[in-house]
Amino acid sequence: MDMIATRERNEMEICFDAVSVNESFARVAVASFASHLNPTMEEISDIKTAVSEAVTNAIIHGYENYEGYGKYGNSRPAGSVVHPGKVRLHCLMEDGIIHIEVADQGKGIGDIARAMEPLFTTKPELGRSGMGFSFMETFMDDLLVESTPGQGTTVRMSKKLSAGAWIGGEE
């Protein structure tokens, strides 16, 4: 029964506030959604990293909610400003491939090619490494970025999971 179910199409969409506490929520949600395909530990870890990068970008760069939970651990620093905004996360599983879309309606990216260069960051003062897009490219099979300044950014990525083919072969 399980073998047939995994070949079927499955889709989910969640929408959440652009705050740093949701970064772990987003990657765990996608990992758990993908777990029905019985992926390897490495594939799960790749997907979690890519989702984390895309969602963090939306929160920090799209909506400029830089702060995370400052030095006091699990409470937000007093006086920190949170810009309102939502991140939409859409996942589609089809033929053993997971398609992930992370969209924000934040400030957008002017020069996408530049933003995708390894080590390029507009926020060096925040201790950002500029490796986000490089990691998404490395850990996923496909990466596509669309952005309109002032309107937002959509990151689309997909990855073929080896387990999909393996289960198919057993039938």
Binding site: S20, V21, E23, S24, R27, E42, S45, K48, T49, S52, E53, T56, I59, I60, E67, G68, Y69, G70, K71, Y72, G73, L126, G127, R128, S129, G130, M131, G132, S134, F135, T138
Partner: protein
């Protein structure tokens, strides 16, 4: 156990279960406080408890490296699992940081 401990001239930083942007400034700001106040020479990041790290972790390590490297300090990453080692290798940090599994 404390997240930050000074042993001789080393700052030991116990990294959280998940290293991402959410906790990045907590780690960076506290580590910088000890680096400045206690004039530590080397920084050791202990990944014993860590099961996830994204590029925010690279930023944390790179930033601390910049602060101590000019005084001859070294940065170490210990108890590193496969996922974290891959992130360190991909970013090229393995060239400036001593990585120990």
């Amino acid at each position: 156990m404390e997240d930050f401990q000074i042993i001789d001239n080393c700052l030991m930083v116990r990294m959280p279960k998940e290293v991402d942007h959410h906790l990045a400034s907590y780690i960076s700001e506290n580590a910088d406080h000890y680096i400045m106040e206690d004039e530590v020479e080397h920084v050791v990041f202990d990944f014993e408890d860590t099961r996830f790290m994204d590029s925010s972790g690279i930023g944390i390590i790179m930033g601390r490296y910049r602060k101590i490297a000019c005084f001859g300090g070294r940065v170490y990453a210990i108890h590193v699992d496969r996922q974290i080692r891959r992130i360190l290798d991909l970013s090229g940090l393995n060239k400036i940081v001593e990585v120990i599994s």
